[in-house]
């Protein structure tokens, strides 16, 4: 029993990390209707920037500079790509972000190098035991995972405040509802896009930081994006809570299936389990668990 909860808890904590990446997707999709396939590449790029900067600067300064770099990146993407593709079909924008993803991966590794870099956040590696009073011997958790969960929660809270309380946040929500209407009431689209892509960039930086600390900063971080996709579909493209809950569900399901189902079929199923799960969900709820239902009109 304790082992089961341990697996669940581990899954949930891993799920938080998926949620972090998915959150970046949702931010951009909600505000601009763009399915940003480059989110994973942004995570990689942010992590590389951060880790290489820490070689020169103290951590906080490196983090701050990385933030600026991500904002600059958002600006460039808006200038060079998005503004030329306004009013294009979603699928075209999607493919454009595929291009951005490839470019960023190549670019990041060209300037920052493509070795494996370790990022030390000063969190002890050895796991700790919690809930010893309930379970015999307690549950084993990774301190870093706990840290990630805390950071993610803080980030979500911050974003929620930003969207609910600030003027920019309100404008963003207007844009998410209706592009044209928002433009006609005087919300400049390019400005909005810059804000969301910057926000997504910072989310990517945080995700990159946590993932980097966990796995080391290397190319495979970009593939985290692929992990986050099923999360998105499960949660719906437009729902922030969906992204979080979806991430938790996927993380949990993945771990459980790996532990209980994996050995039967030969292991290594975490690569596809989430996908197959969402495929089944999609067949019944095409808009995901929390997505908006689309009514087709003639």
């Amino acid at each position: 029993m304790a082992f089961f909860f341990e697996v669940v808890l581990g899954g949930l904590l891993a799920g938080v990390l998926y949620s972090l990446v998915a959150l970046g997707f949702v931010l951009i999709f909600k505000a601009s209707g763009v399915f940003n396939f480059a989110q994973g590449a942004m995570v990689l790029f942010a992590a590389l920037t951060l880790v290489r900067l820490t070689e020169w600067l103290p951590f906080w300064a490196a983090f701050a500079v990385s933030c600026l770099v991500m904002i600059a990146l958002a600006w460039v993407i808006e200038r060079v790509v998005l503004r030329h593709l306004v009013n294009q079909e979603g699928i075209i924008l999607f493919m454009a972000t595929l291009g951005i993803a490839f470019f960023l991966e190549g670019f990041g590794q060209t300037i920052w190098g493509s070795d494996i870099y370790t990022l030390d956040l000063g969190i002890p590696k050895e796991p700790s035991f919690i809930l010893e009073s309930i379970f015999d011997g307690g549950l084993l958790v990774d301190k870093l995972d706990v840290f990630a969960a805390v950071v993610a929660s803080a980030l979500v809270l911050g974003l929620a405040l930003f969207f609910q309380k600030t003027k920019v946040g309100l404008a963003l929500r207007a844009v998410a509802d209706d592009h044209q209407a928002a433009q006609s009431i005087g919300v400049p689209l390019d400005y909005i896009w810059l804000i969301v892509w910057s926000a997504a960039g910072i989310v990517a930086l945080v995700a990159g930081m946590v993932w980097g600390a966990k796995l080391g900063v290397q190319f495979s971080i970009a593939l985290v994006a692929l992990k986050a996709l099923p999360v998105l579909i499960l949660g719906g493209f437009t729902s922030v809570p969906g992204a979080i809950i979806g991430g938790l569900l996927i993380g949990m399901g993945e771990k459980l299936s790996e532990v209980y189902f994996g050995p039967i079929v030969g292991g290594g199923i975490e690569n596809w389990f989430a996908y197959m799960l969402v495929l089944v969900v999609l067949l019944f709820r095409p808009q995901g668990l929390f997505g908006d239902r689309v009514i087709e009109r003639v």
Binding site: E105, G106, L279, L283
Partner: protein
């Protein structure tokens, strides 16, 4: 500029609907085929066959396959690599377990098996569209990757699958030239078939679904059936391409040959070459295939050798930039540029 079409009038629908209704185009395509079948074998070297022509042709075939699905039917797929893998392993197992099977039959059956798998993963297209579907096809990619890594039966309990000695109608395909000619013949025939499909009833149904699925349904097109046919045909092409990749190009391969990067590569070929164009599939394949070769060769030729890592990063950057460039400037790729150029040439010197 070169077109002289006066007097080329059509007296039958068959002539009017021919693939190349303009005389000059017919001459050009004949010339290209002549060069490919007769001149190339006279001049090409081993490297040209194995390093350029054979892989290019096979990738063009896979691109046609994906183009049928994405370009004509509007269903984006990121699972091309998986369907190629199915084809490759199916052909491997067929030849392994049914010795003496004709190679062409094995390829065709491999395509058929891939088509079945394609239909299976196409089922969600009934309910989901656009990038939702793209993500769903990733499921196929990862699942199938896993199958061929973990389920050892498929690889006959070896890490790599190795193609047997190739015999076609008793003729050993032991030289690169022979493999090239066989590959070329298969690709030409399948390209022709693809062209026939897209300009016939099936192709029109696909394009109707792509352009406006609601209207398509209202004129009596059954969406699921049409999409599944597209998945099946597309996967058939990818499957055959996969089998050719394994047998004709590599000889021995590991599952990673057909991973998600292969899917992206083929998708890029579609985008750059031209969404919804058979000709574009060749152009796109040629371009995407040529870039890495150039990145490797040009700096070396200029005396600034670059590392493998850097060249692969440069490659990614160039692909990414090209994709963005094309989507902004000409979302329909080389094929559209080609077509526009041709229209201009037909009207030249008049501008429109």
């Amino acid at each position: 500029m070169f077109y002289r079409e006066n007097g080329q009038f059509k007296t039958s629908y068959a002539a009017d609907q021919a693939i190349f209704p303009i005389l000059l185009d017919r001459i050009a395509i004949m010339a290209i085929l002549l060069v490919a079948f007769l001149v190339v074998p006279l001049v090409a070297t081993q490297y040209v066959y194995t390093g350029i022509l054979i892989p290019f042709l096979i990738l063009a075939l896979a691109t046609i396959g994906l183009n049928l699905l994405t370009g004509y039917c509007g269903q984006v797929s990121l699972g091309t690599g998986a369907f190629m893998a199915v084809g490759a392993y199916a052909a491997y197992n067929l030849v392994l377990r049914l010795p003496g099977m004709n190679l062409l039959v094995a390829f065709a059956l491999a395509g058929g098996i891939s088509a079945l798998v394609g239909v299976l993963f196409g089922l969600p297209s009934l309910r989901i569209k656009g990038f939702y579907l793209a993500v769903a096809t990733l499921a196929a990619q990862f699942f199938i990757d896993w199958v061929f890594i973990r389920i050892k039966w498929f690889t006959n309990y070896a890490t790599n699958a190795t193609a047997p000695e190739l015999l076609l109608f008793g003729l050993p395909l032991d030289s690169a030239m022979r493999r090239y000619l066989v590959t070329l013949a298969i690709v030409v025939v399948m390209a022709l078939i693809a062209k026939n499909l897209v300009r016939g009833a099936t192709g029109r149904a696909w394009m109707a679904v792509r352009d406006m699925d609601i209207a398509a349904e209202i004129i009596g097109i059954r969406l699921l059936r049409t999409k599944l046919i597209a998945f099946a045909v597309s996967s058939f092409y990818c499957g055959v391409a996969g089998a050719l990749w394994g047998f004709m190009h590599l000889g021995a391969w590991e599952p990673l040959t057909f991973d998600v990067n292969r899917s992206f590569q083929v998708l890029f070929m579609v985008i750059i070459g031209g969404v919804g164009s058979i000709l574009g599939s060749f152009l796109g394949a040629a371009f995407i295939f040529a870039v890495p070769i150039l990145i490797n060769q040009v700096p070396a030729a200029l005396g600034v050798p670059i590392s493998t890592a850097l060249s692969s990063h440069l490659e990614a950057m160039i692909f990414g930039a090209m994709i963005i460039f094309f989507l902004i400037v000409e979302p329909h790729g080389f094929a559209r540029l080609w077509q526009l150029g041709k229209e201009k040439l037909r009207l030249w010197p008049l501008p429109h």
